[in-house]
């Protein structure tokens, strides 16, 4: 294989360290949610652009860049890359697309649950439509009848009237529905998911590509993705015969000690369509060179090359399509474990900026533009030479805040052995992964642990389920370096920056809470059960057996350890750190080992002795009330 690794031109140099503090941006759920906007020592605000996606206008004259942190669509001249205009959109925009006629640009604003509709003639926001929970991408059908919106939290695709924005219905998708891609003829939509669907405890994860018939606006198929936990973008060949999805394939059923043997994740593509028949999974990794966190993808119009951003590895992997198809036809099923496979079809690795995400090809396929999220740049790759021809710097601060450096550290895979994984491998978009892992410090096959979410994690120490890490510097530093990275430790400045970033992670808005934060009647009844000190028979509930005792305070933890009767035969101890309740509605599965797939099962299955709170006196109605209250936390 003729493989080269090129350095990005214009990549940002060394760290311009700037002491930073976070700014309050908006409030939600009673706690301040802070975007990572830094302030420099000299007082200037450092508001980064953080480009995540890019699009060309149909006539090829404009480049639209979706900037997540500055909450803007930046409009650039497609030839000179000079800025034309910046258009303010909603909070944490995650996906955007043009209408088939190109007259409207739709933006999915994931944190304020809206769609911004931009008139591409005036470059003004013509409308802002409220939608459901954490909209992450949006696509209009060819007829201009419906708009399809992938909702990450409600796990569905909303179907809106494309003219009014009125929601007509929601289609059941997989867990963490996030990215929608239309087939070349527009007849079908393909939806991928960042979190795995529920599978039985300690079995392989699975995800799906949900297939929607656009004319009927119904789900017509689900392409099963066995072993895949996280799916991102999909691309199609121009003839529609080949679909390719970017995936992360965790190896969480074996001890993580196998990192040395490529054992943490396979970074893969799933191929589907007429060209390959049944779906085929192929790895992008090779021994000693990993394609961590594949995300964006594009196929050249001539169907000769596939370009994949590998966000953790900060590079673009180039795949030869004819060779890939030949390989797939002779290697059905999953080839994720075959570290020699990629030699058959990977032809280049092109270094780009920090956390490269979305990609877009020029219409003739001669250039590939890559949005480097944590560098505020766009890499322009010449697809003939597979070299970075230019790097476009987006307007924004040139200095680097502490948070920004910490975020780069969080998202890169460069610290781990052979560059296999980074923090973001398991904390998808700085959240969680819905998986359980076997970390070997406790013994192989011992102490299986569910991955806890990290949003709003400040002041919830100690960390780890056994409460073994007293603070974030310990959690993120020695523990991570020793048991995850195995290759390189952080210098003290980097660790500090990482901790500052993690401590500043805000809680995403809680969608079960009414806008004014008041509770519904059901939630109020549940709250009464949560705080009660007497059971239904009039007996005093021991203090340590009341919900509110352990799950106290604004984040729902008293930061102490208890035995709640959930110890399994594989656990070394039943004494467990009390987890915070932040956004608990969306962080299934539950309990320390993830053995409870739903909140209900914590009490209907795993609390026979009332050790995890006094609950066995409750009727089914009352247990439902309690759960509705918990969802507001």
């Amino acid at each position: 294989m003729n493989r080269r690794r090129h350095n990005a031109a214009g990549a940002l140099g060394g760290l311009a360290a700037v002491c930073a503090v976070t700014l309050g941006v908006f409030a939600w759920n009673g706690r301040t949610a802070r975007a990572s906007v830094g302030t420099g020592r000299t007082g200037e605000q450092l508001e980064y652009a953080s480009p995540v996606e890019a699009l060309f206008s149909p006539d090829g004259t404009r480049l639209y860049v979706l900037c997540q942190e500055s909450a803007q669509v930046r409009v650039l001249d497609a030839k000179s890359y000079e800025p034309v205009k910046s258009i303010a959109v909603g909070t944490v925009p995650r996906g955007f697309s043009l209408s088939p006629r190109g007259d409207r640009l739709f933006v999915a604003n994931s944190w304020d649950d809206t769609i911004s509709v931009i008139d591409t003639q005036t470059l003004e926001v013509a409308a802002t439509w409220p939608v459901a929970s954490e909209p992450s991408s949006v696509v209009e059908d060819r007829e201009g009848k419906h708009l399809f919106v992938a909702n990450r939290i409600s796990n569905d695709v909303a179907v809106l009237d494309a003219q009014t924005g009125a929601e007509e219905k929601r289609l059941a998708a997989g867990r963490g529905a996030s990215y929608i891609t239309a087939s070349p003829d527009g007849s079908k939509l393909y939806v991928t998911h960042v979190y795995p669907n529920a599978t039985p405890h300690r079995t392989a994860p699975a995800s799906e590509i949900t297939v929607i018939d656009t004319a009927r606006a119904v789900v017509v198929d689900r392409i099963a993705l066995p072993y895949v936990a996280h799916g991102f973008h999909v691309a199609f060949s121009a003839d529609g015969r080949l679909g390719v999805a970017t995936n992360m394939h965790p190896k969480n059923l074996v001890p993580l000690a196998h990192l040395e043997h490529g054992g943490a994740f396979a970074d893969t593509l799933t191929l589907f369509g007429v060209d390959v028949g049944k779906p085929v999974e192929v790895p992008l990794d090779e021994l000693e060179l990993y394609a961590a966190r594949p995300f964006g993808i594009a196929i050249t119009p001539d169907k000769l090359r596939i370009f994949v951003t590998c966000a953790g590895s900060e590079m673009v992997t180039v795949v030869d399509v004819p060779r890939l198809i030949r390989y797939a036809r002779t290697h059905p099923g999953s080839n994720a474990q075959d570290m020699s496979a990629s030699a058959n079809y990977v032809v280049e690795r092109i270094a780009v900026g920090h956390d490269p995400r979305g990609v877009v090809l020029t219409r003739d396929g001669s250039k590939l533009l890559v949005a480097n999220r944590l560098e505020d740049t766009i890499s322009v790759i010449d697809t003939k030479t597979d070299r970075v021809a230019a790097t476009i710097a987006l307007a924004g601060p040139k200095k680097m805040s502490v948070q920004r450096h910490g975020e780069q550290t969080f998202y890169t895979a460069r610290y781990s052995f052979q560059g296999q994984i980074g923090c973001a491998n398991c904390h998808i978009d700085s959240t969680f992964d819905g998986l359980q892992w076997d970390l070997e410090p406790d013994g192989f096959g011992r102490d299986i642990v569910d991955n806890r979410p990290i949003e709003d994690v400040k002041d919830t120490e100690p960390f780890k389920w056994n409460g073994g890490n007293p603070n974030l510097p310990t959690e993120c530093g020695p523990r991570t370096e020793k048991y995850f990275w195995r290759a390189e430790n952080y210098d003290s400045l980097t660790l500090t920056d990482l901790v500052v970033y993690v401590r500043g992670l805000p809680a995403r808005p809680n969608r079960w809470r009414l806008p004014g934060r008041e509770l519904t009647a059901t939630q109020e009844r549940g709250q009464a059960l949560f705080v009660r000190d007497v059971d239904k028979f009039g007996n005093l509930i021991p203090e340590a057996n009341r919900c509110v005792y352990c799950h106290s305070g604004p984040k729902g933890t008293n930061q102490k350890s208890f035995d709640v009767g959930t110890k399994k035969v594989t656990d070394n101890s039943g004494l467990l750190d009390t987890p915070q309740l932040t956004n608990i509605a969306i962080t299934a599965p539950y309990l320390h080992d993830g053995s409870a797939p739903t909140l209900e099962q914590i009490w209907t299955v795993f609390n026979p002795q009332d050790k995890h709170g006094r609950t066995n006196d409750l009727t089914k109605d009352e247990l439902n009330d309690l759960i509705e209250y918990l969802r507001t936390r």
Binding site: A132, S154, E168, K169, R170, L171, A172, E208, T210, V211, R216, V218, V219, V220, D221, R222, W512, T522, A585, P597, T598, E600, Q601, T604, V605, T619, K620, D621, L623, N624, I627, E628, R631
Partner: protein, 375 residues
């Protein structure tokens, strides 16, 4: 009361027409007597069907068919041994291995907006969506009970009838609301059927009549038999015919109610009761009722399938005496006439009904029947 319920439940599920034998003796002679005295020209024109019957012999998962659902060209059959899907002239079976909550599928409902199918089973509620099956049980969700007799989809809400009350799943929020003796006028909590619309939701509550929920006013009301639990009908057309309700269907602002002791129609002001003695109903023991519109309805009884067009009645069944295909028509005067047919539903014990254009699909105790409308 519970013992009676269990017996009746067994009767319904096993397809043993316990009350049928006694009633057959009084119903059958009336047909023959009337038929001999009526000229053909006076027989009302009623729908004719050619019935094609499916059993395990031609691919149906099981012959005990509890429910049937038409989804365009696709037919779903809830059987005692899995959920059958008839598509492109082939049967496919979904079982617990595919994620189905339980092999015995008692009820089915279609979300017409999304195409999702909801299946109420003896072990929970399942959603079949694009080939994926998600299951809700009383342990893993807010579902009130795993025995799901009825299910109905209205907008974003899935209304469920269970052995421990009714409940509703809000698909937008994931919230379950439970309806039982603690928050509704329900006395018994054995809920057999549900019919949900954007304005009204009706539950057929075994031993507790019909429960009505007004979606706008958000209030409950209850309809009971004015005779109480008396087996005699003292107040005909004064209210619900009996407390032991089995099925409800709310169409065009008309409520149709089935019981094991006759059926009823309610227009919001007036009740009309149907009994074998004064209507064309072949049996008072009615498992299922399905309104076509304000005036027309189909009845699935233990003695055959019946149709009421607002005036006249037609009954389709294998003869109770000979087993040969039989169709009878009863006109407004009560005159019953036989109509020559060569096919009939697979069995007289009818548990489910659905429509496919002018065709009808019928779930019976011994197979699934497709009534192909004849011009």
């Amino acid at each position: 009361m519970k013992a009676i319920l269990r017996i009746a439940m067994a009767v319904m599920l096993l397809g043993v027409p316990a009350g049928a034998a006694a009633q057959a003796k009084e119903a059958t002679p009336r047909v023959h007597k009337a038929a001999n005295s009526v000229a053909k020209s006076s027989i009302p024109v009623m729908p004719h069907f050619r019935f094609e019957n499916f059993t395990t012999a031609n691919g149906l998962p099981d012959d005990h068919v509890f429910s049937v659902l038409v989804d365009g060209d696709r037919i779903w059959a809830g059987t005692e041994n899995g959920l059958g899907l008839y598509e492109n002239q082939q049967w496919k079976a979904f079982t617990t291995k595919d994620g189905l909550a339980h092999r015995a599928v008692l009820s089915l409902a279609l979300d017409k907006r999304t195409g999702d199918v909801w299946a109420g089973t003896m072990g929970g509620l399942s959603r079949i969506s694009g080939g994926r099956i998600d299951t809700y049980t009383q342990l893993n969700s807010g579902l009130s009970n795993d025995v799901v007799y009825g299910v109905s989809v209205e907008g974003e809400n899935v209304w469920v009838a269970t052995a421990a009350g009714g409940c509703k799943l809000d698909l937008h929020t994931g919230e379950w609301s439970l309806y039982n003796e603690r928050n509704t006028p329900m006395v018994e909590i054995w809920v057999y059927g549900v019919s949900a619309t954007p304005t009204k939701v009706y539950y057929a509550v075994w031993g507790s009549g019909v429960l009505e929920y007004d979606q706008q006013k958000k209030i409950w009301d209850k309809y009971e038999d004015p005779d109480g639990e008396n087996e005699m009908v003292l107040f005909k057309d004064q209210g619900l015919i009996h407390e032991i309700t089995t099925s409800v269907s709310y169409v065009d602002n008309i409520l149709w109610v089935a019981t094991y002791f006759g059926d009823s129609r309610y227009d919001g002001r007036y009740w009309h009761n149907f009994l074998t003695k004064d209507s064309g109903l072949p049996s008072n023991f009615t498992n299922v009722i399905k309104g076509v519109d304000a005036n027309r309805a189909w009845f699935g009884t233990d003695k055959g399938l019946a149709y009421y067009d607002g005036v006249n009645w037609a009954v389709y069944r294998p003869s109770l005496t000979t087993g040969k295909p039989e169709m009878t028509v009863r006109n407004a005067k009560g005159t019953v006439s036989p109509v020559a047919v060569s096919t009939a539903p697979a069995h007289n014990y009818v548990l489910g009904i659905d429509f496919q254009g002018n065709d009808i699909w019928v779930a019976t105790a011994k197979g699934l029947s497709h009534g192909i409308h004849q011009p």
